[in-house]
């Protein structure tokens, strides 16, 4: 084992492999920065280049790219409120308010460091868990997925900001939007209005880009002011953000591990991990009132989860040949193209390669985080730019990014409608995050509920992991209420 670990490290740092990884990291970061592109497009584009390549070099390119996409994605999420990738949408909630306060550098520093640390923890987690992962994966069936989705939906209240009722209204709308399209249970199209585009359901990327980025573009044009408020120093506190990650080390570790765990379980999806971690950070924070207004914990939590979940998703892909996410499905294809069969035997026959992948994950994350941090200060100064310069770039990249989701004109129309809707929500202080949370988890909850009822009836609630998740759900609702009551009591007794 130790020999394989060492061999893996030596292969990963050998020049041909390392140079491929650098190319992958560069491409991944750029793809992450452009809103709407995401790692799947990157992997699809990179895959043809790996034909005939040596396995380690090919994975250095693919994994180097895929593992750092979210690191790049944090940059537009914080600076212009345009999520670079789907899971980065949660970073917008506190990252952008920090940028508006002139603390864009600090937010970037925290996001990049959290991404790097999350990636390293993910790689460590992968190294430790591979031998014992089988019982974890097999203990998760439709009832457990359903309970996980409900646990995620319960966090709507945590991302609702000041007005719980408004958050619930928008959360309900998000859940309804998740039901648009083919219903897998009955085969009928719900809320399709005889449009082919809607029969496939609403896609997350155009909705997210419209709701956050386009709404921000409208605000910028209307206000005729730079993103960062006047008089605020910008970009000088990048290393303060990096320090924040280590100050909040317990939160970083927790969210990284949650991200890994969600990544390990196939079928939950990357978006869920960042939102669940954001909600968890808000629940466990000493200052929950500051969430959504520029709390650095709200940047650290989703970013740590984003990168660590990629390592988690790699585990079932390698160990069982079950892709943990859509990106991993493409990576699984790469394994087969390169003549490797993922499954338990790969851990026996190609242990050196598995260790190389673990090392590559860790090193790619360190390089991406360090590289982006070096440019964070000039990047943060973008928030001081005149909207006349910024708006055309943001608008064009947002529209093109969203149009590439399904290469359909429907994506642009949805982005436009959601942009106007997002602006109205922003203007009347309706929180926008619950809509995404509802949209991500609604469909999942419904599908797995139907499956669970069909397979087990109401007895599915009695499965051990389901009961454990139910207990977690009850705790996640009751503990914040108990804590806030205790806080109020303390406040009253102080007076």
């Amino acid at each position: 084992m130790f020999e394989a670990m060492l061999n893996g490290l030596l292969v990963s740092v050998s020049w041909p492999v390392f140079s491929m990884m650098i190319v992958g990291v560069l491409v991944g970061t750029v793809i992450g920065i452009v809103p709407g592109l995401g790692g799947i497009l990157g992997l699809s584009l990179m895959l043809p280049f790996t034909f005939g390549m040596e396995a380690t070099k090919a994975f250095a390119l693919l994994l180097g790219m895929h593992s750092v996409v979210h690191t790049g994605g944090a940059i537009p999420s914080i600076l212009i409120n345009a999520p670079g990738t789907g899971p980065c949408a949660a970073t917008c909630l506190d990252g952008f308010p920090l940028a508006q306060q002139g603390k864009g550098g600090r937010a970037l520093g925290a996001a990049l460091a959290a991404s790097g640390v999350g990636g390293i923890i993910g790689a460590l987690f992968m190294a430790l868990i591979i031998p014992v992962v089988r019982p974890i994966i097999t203990s998760f069936g439709p009832p457990e997925f359903f309970m996980l989705a409900v646990l995620g939906i319960s966090l709507i209240s945590m991302v609702s900001g000041d007005s719980m009722i408004k958050g619930l209204i928008i959360g309900c709308l998000g859940l309804l939007m998740s039901s648009v399209g083919w219903d897998p249970q009955t085969g009928i199209v719900r809320y399709g209005f005889d449009l082919l585009y809607l029969s496939e359901g609403l896609h997350l990327v155009p909705v997210t880009l419209g709701l956050f980025a386009l709404a921000e573009v409208i605000t910028l044009i209307a206000e005729k002011k730079a993103i960062a408020h006047k008089g605020s120093a910008v970009g000088n506190d990048v290393y303060e953000g990096v320090k924040d990650v280590f100050r909040e080390w317990w939160l970083t570790l927790r969210c990284s591990l949650i991200g890994c765990f969600i990544g390990v379980i196939p079928g939950i999806g990357g978006e869920a991990s960042s939102w669940i971690c954001y909600g968890h950070a808000a629940q466990s924070s000493k200052n929950p009132d500051l969430f959504g207004k520029g709390n650095i914990e709200g940047v650290i939590a989703p970013e740590a989860a984003n990168n660590s979940k990629e390592a988690g998703a790699l585990i079932p892909t390698i160990a069982f040949g079950i892709p943990g996410s859509s990106g991993m499905a493409i990576l699984l294809g790469a394994f087969l193209i390169l003549g490797l069969t993922p499954g338990p035997m790969i851990l026996v026959k190609n242990l050196d390669l598995v260790w190389s992948l673990i090392w590559l994950l860790a090193i790619a994350n360190i390089i991406a985080a360090a590289g982006c941090t070096a440019f964070a200060t000039p990047l943060a100064r973008l928030t001081k730019l005149d909207p006349g310069f910024l708006v055309p770039f943001i608008l064009i990249f947002v529209m093109i990014g969203s149009s590439l989701t399904t290469n359909s004109i429907g994506d642009i129309v949805v982005t436009m409608i959601m942009g106007l809707f997002g602006y109205v929500l922003k203007k009347y202080k309706f929180p926008r995050a619950p809509l995404l949370l509802g949209m991500i988890l609604g469909g999942m909850a419904e599908n797995y509920l139907h499956l669970s009822l069909t397979l087990w009836g109401l007895k599915f609630f009695l499965r051990p992991v389901t009961l454990l998740l139910l207990a977690l759900l009850v705790m996640s609702i009751l503990v914040p209420i108990f804590l806030s009551k205790r806080k109020t009591k303390k406040g009253v007794s102080m007076v």
């Binding site: 750029v30 452009v34 592109l37 497009l41 584009l45 000041d162 007005s163 009722i165 408004k166 619930l168 209204i169 309900c172 709308l173 859940l175 309804l176 039901s179 219903d183 249970q185 009955t186 009928i188 719900r190 809320y191 386009l214 573009v217 409208i218 605000t219 910028l220 044009i221 209307a222 206000e223 005729k224 005149d386 006349g388 310069f389 708006v391 055309p392 770039f393 608008l395 064009i396 990249f397 529209m399 093109i400 149009s403 590439l404 290469n407 004109i409 642009i412 436009m416 942009g419 106007l420 602006y423 109205v424 203007k427 009347y428 202080k429 309706f430 609604g442 419904e446 139907h450």
Partner: protein, 172 residues
């Protein structure tokens, strides 16, 4: 409009959820389960919010303006505290029109042409830059799109309905 803005938004949600409830009710039992379970509580939440907003308006109306200006600007209820930055409505409509016009030009002429048209017009009329910087900005935008999407990613961007139509006419 400003005072009743939140009420209009609540009414919009009320109409939307009612519409979705009516449509959802027409589906089979299994298919309508989620729409029913979501829209009914949703309608209750909207009604509660509408009630709160109406009460807030009523509360504000009862505060008679004094000799030193209008009273009752406490704004302790979040929902009615709209537009804290006080952006004129005309600017907001203009901003929406800018975005909508880009969207319309993209639909008609596709990305490549609309980028040139929009950036040139936007930087000239909105930002009031010199022609030289307008052209430089347009070139920068178009080149970055071309380099990233066409050359690096080899993605085919939407051509626009008018351009496609003209192509069809010319070819056939």
């Amino acid at each position: 409009m400003k005072r009743y803005g939140p009420v209009y938004v609540d009414l919009f949600f009320l109409a939307l959820f009612t519409f979705l409830l009516v449509i959802g009710y027409s589906y089979d039992y299994e298919a309508r389960l989620l729409p029913m379970v979501i829209t009914i509580p949703g309608l209750i939440f909207i009604a509660t919010q509408l009630f709160r907003d109406l009460m807030e308006i009523k509360r504000r109306k009862t505060l008679i303006p004094g000799p030193n200006g209008p009273a009752g600007q406490s704004g302790d209820v979040q929902s009615v505290e709209v537009d804290s930055k006080k952006v004129p409505m005309a600017n907001q409509i203009k901003a929406m029109l800018w975005v909508a016009s880009f969207f319309a030009v993209v639909l008609l002429l596709g990305f490549h042409i609309s980028i040139v048209v929009f950036v040139l017009v936007f930087t000239r009329t909105y930002s009031r830059r010199s022609w030289l910087s307008c052209f430089a900005m347009t070139a920068a935008c178009w080149t970055s799109v071309y380099l990233i999407f066409n050359l690096a990613l080899e993605v085919v961007l939407f051509n626009g309905f008018l351009v496609e139509y003209i192509k069809d006419v010319l070819y056939y």
